[in-house]
Subunit: 547 residues, 2 copies
């Protein structure tokens, strides 16, 4: 086993890592896999180095898992009474804390009052099929998955630009009438009579469901005019006009987000809640490996002055101190910035201070009737988008056709999230109800969706989190320096930053796990402890919102 | 309760039916629902009319269910040793029979040897979200449903026109590179500088992921060049060229089928196999209503000469006879044509003879490893399309991440189905293996997907079925007369034809259930027993294949 002084792993060690991570093989685009560290050397019994892991988010837990498998003695210090960080699922009795108006003291804002058995993911809610690390860990840990439906053509879109105003459009009409009109326009613009142009016209006919003349007059892809009966045949709904479609500017309201790679089918979610991953990881590391998880352990300072890493933390009203050979910090950068850091380089301090975390809010509802699945709505999963500040409205991809269910009644960003976060929970719910009522009249009254069964979270006000994800911006020159700096350990290889914040996938669990594997490989001496010369900066807005 | 002489129900009765079926309300496009016959009058105890139902397919069982609820005394005669008709799920030990070369005698072709617990739907395999009758019956009967994934962007398409040949393309590349190129072409053709054209250009940028100049140079929507790592960022795969895309004629190989309304997300399938619907229906009608199901009861003649309907059938080596007040035939028209029909009109006989059933084959495989879900393939459900005679290749939408699974290794139509049906089961499997190997090299050897674990069915050779669905063709004038005729009872309202064959949705269970509800409403006297003057003809090719 390498020690922290082995800063330059051999080329063969790097090859080993690449072989383990499947990066050496001839992969098709977009493929990747998790490394199998079991092929790496382990420390002899009795000589296992120790590691302090700060924060039991997905990155910290994954690092503890891989380090534990490699034989390291690990202690995870977590300030909250639960593991998981932003991977949080709300259930009956769960208490939600946010910082007070001054941003200082955590205040209990409300307690989740969902019926027992119901749940809602407040943080990450879906796993793309190409996030191989998450899927592989789920398989490894026995976390059962089910499809997350990102889009159904029964979803609706609300925009003030609609004609008639206030009447949401079905996804299938927007998607397919747009395809039809665009294909017809292009077909009309083609002047050639060669074979290629003929084939292109044929493609356009199929692409947009055009008639033989290359014109678009509506399609059953957009739905039927009337419900079918034995002598009532499928007839295409009259198409939305191109001018109405363009006038609504529907594409500015995330309509094409499901087309982006991160949200393409088939997506998954753990059955029973996203925190099943966290629970399984926590159970595995504490039962099978030399890993201790201390909850309610709030780190206040980190010192790199001695031979070992020193950490001071508060627990049970006392100030305690721990030391270890290595330290892996899963603390969000804006929180880390507030700690007393001793013996850290200026470059590192600048990097920690360079990037903020993005504001983002979610609202969750319990509905006492799954009205969105009825004969009128026919919605099973997916998202309705809106120009209202709630931004989006998620339908559950679980327990279809059952009696009750939970809805994500808002998931917003930027100014909408900032403004919503300033309101009280009850005010947020009222705002969210207003936005939801534009989509579903059931929200006009409080019987089907009672106000007291709503939950809300403003992640930028949550203690120990302070935001949804590192708000990396490729246009900010300081971010270029900062991101690269975070890929390199401090203190002669003793201190590492982990998490989706130090990955090309901010806001995604895959990024947290990728970062954990990278840091473990660095710490274990099988990857260089210096970052490559040229490292890009994540585009957090695109990666989290697809726009 | 009406009798069979009440041929002209009152307007209020029709209103009742429409109210019950939800057709009266202001529905959005494409919506519909199943009628609630419980609002209709019931016969007094002891005076319940009797009904003979011929064939226990989905249409026959649904009719028996609704008639049973209304108090009719029902007997279902089914020639096979199981109910369900084309709704059939293959499991270990299931015997597959087909007619011999002369088309006369049923021959045991093979026995399904899947591991216990595995299954594959040989008939219908999916339920659209707008097929409200199927979904409502499933809820009513307690049939648990899970999403059927029609398309994932990880699916592939094989076409000899591909460049390089023999290398299948990912769905995400075809779909998104085509969008990009078409949007860029249209953007370049726009000459206006008005506000509308500016907005249209903006739409095209988002639609096709164009750059600021309206050009397409590839998109991460098509996947990444390299798997991500901490300093390996998302880069778009190089786009397929428009000439390669057009040259492949990919759209001729069903690529856009998932865009059609019948296959749009969210689709469903019963957990455990499509025949869960059949089992639940059979259990419900026999346990809760006055319905008897006689299996192995092969009808040979039907007589409408007396006051009642007479039926002769073979069972247990004997010829038996039954009579009833009414008869509802769920027998496929090509089979009905072969029976001795006495007392039927010429118009009706002509209608029965007018339409054939379409040839269609399926092949099913057990795979001992879910290789399609591995890091290389990343395929969870959906369909890969190919220009090989297998036509399509379905991945399971159930039991993801488990060890083994079943695949639909062929589902073809027309000439491909005719040709495949002429081969022996082993020859069909060898042909299907050849087509599958163009998509997945695991089929080159027989370890992962053993030949002896394959199943195959040529529906047009299955006794009592003789095809996949009524092959209605709107271009055939005789079909116009025939379809309308089948919507009207024979023998003064005593004899009715039921099934997807007599619905605008041939090949779909929704059509069978719709037809059953229609016939029950006619028989019960709450719908006219004459069809409207103008009735269209189903387009079976479009409705079953989407092309």
């Amino acid at each position: 086993m390498s020690t922290r002084t082995s800063a330059a792993p051999s080329e063969s060690a790097q090859s080993l890592y690449h072989a383990m991570s499947g990066l050496a093989g001839p992969l098709s685009s977009g493929e990747g896999t998790a490394p199998d560290f079991t092929a790496a050397p382990r420390a002899a019994a009795g000589t296992e180095p120790s590691v302090l892991l700060l924060g039991a988010g997905v990155g910290g837990l994954t690092a503890a898992y891989e380090l534990g498998k490699l034989g390291y003695r690990c202690t995870v210090l977590e300030p909250q009474p639960r593991t998981g960080g932003r991977n949080r699922t709300a259930r009956n009795g769960d208490k939600l804390y946010e910082l007070d108006g001054e941003g200082n003291s955590p205040v209990l804002t409300h307690t989740c009052a969902f019926d027992k058995g119901l749940y809602l993911n407040l943080g990450p809610g879906r796993i793309p099929y190409h996030h191989r690390r998450v899927l592989t860990y789920c398989t490894d840990l026995g976390v059962a998955l089910e499809p997350y439906i990102m889009e159904t053509t029964a979803n609706v879109l609300h925009s003030e630009g609609h004609t008639p105003p206030g009447r949401p459009w079905r996804n299938r009409r927007i998607a397919n009438d747009t395809r039809g009109h665009l294909a017809a326009l292009l077909s009309a613009s083609l002047t050639g009579h060669d074979e290629f142009t003929g084939m292109l016209r044929d493609l356009l006919r199929r692409f947009g469901d055009l008639d033989e003349e290359g014109e678009y007059h509506g399609s059953t892809r957009s739905g039927y005019t009337e419900p079918l009966d034995v002598h009532e045949f499928p007839r295409p709904a009259p198409p939305l006009s191109l001018s109405d479609l363009v006038g609504s500017e529907f594409w500015k309201h995330r309509f094409y987000q499901p087309v982006e790679y991160l949200w393409q089918a088939t997506m998954f979610q753990p059955i029973g809640g996203m925190d099943k991953i966290v629970h399984a990881l926590t159970e595995r590391i504490t039962s099978e490996y030399n890993v201790t998880v201390e909850l309610d352990a709030d780190v206040t300072s980190i010192e790199l002055t001695g031979e070992r890493v020193g950490v001071t933390y508060r627990s049970g009203g006392k100030e305690l101190r721990a030391t270890a050979d290595y330290c892996v910090s899963n603390i969000p950068l804006p929180v880390l910035k507030q700690l007393t850091l001793t013996g850290f380089s200026t470059e590192f301090r600048n990097a920690v201070a360079a990037v903020g975390f993005a504001p983002t809010c979610k609202v969750g509802w319990q509905a006492n009737r799954r009205f969105w699945e009825d004969d009128h709505n026919q919605i099973y999963g997916g998202i309705s988008f809106t120009d209202h500040p709630i931004t989006q409205f998620w339908y559950p991809s679980n327990d279809y056709f059952s009696k009750t269910g939970t809805l994500t009644g808002a998931y917003n960003f930027g100014e909408h999230a900032q403004a919503m976060g300033k309101r009280t929970p009850d005010e947020r719910l009222s705002l969210a109800r207003e936005g939801a009522a534009q989509l579903h009249s059931e929200f006009l009254e409080k019987t089907t969706v009672p106000q007291e069964l709503g939950v809300t979270i403003a992640w930028h006000k949550v203690p120990h989190q302070l935001g949804g994800w590192a708000d990396w911006d490729p246009a900010d020159p300081s971010h270029q320096v900062a991101y690269k700096q975070l890929l390199q350990p401090e203190g002669d290889g003793r201190f590492y930053v982990v998490g989706d914040q130090a990955s090309p996938l901010p806001g995604w669990q895959e990024g947290a796990m990728m970062s954990a594997q990278y840091v473990v490989a660095q710490l274990h001496g099988i990857l260089p402890r210096t970052a490559p010369t040229d490292v890009r900066v994540p585009d957090s807005v695109f990666l989290t919102q697809g726009l």
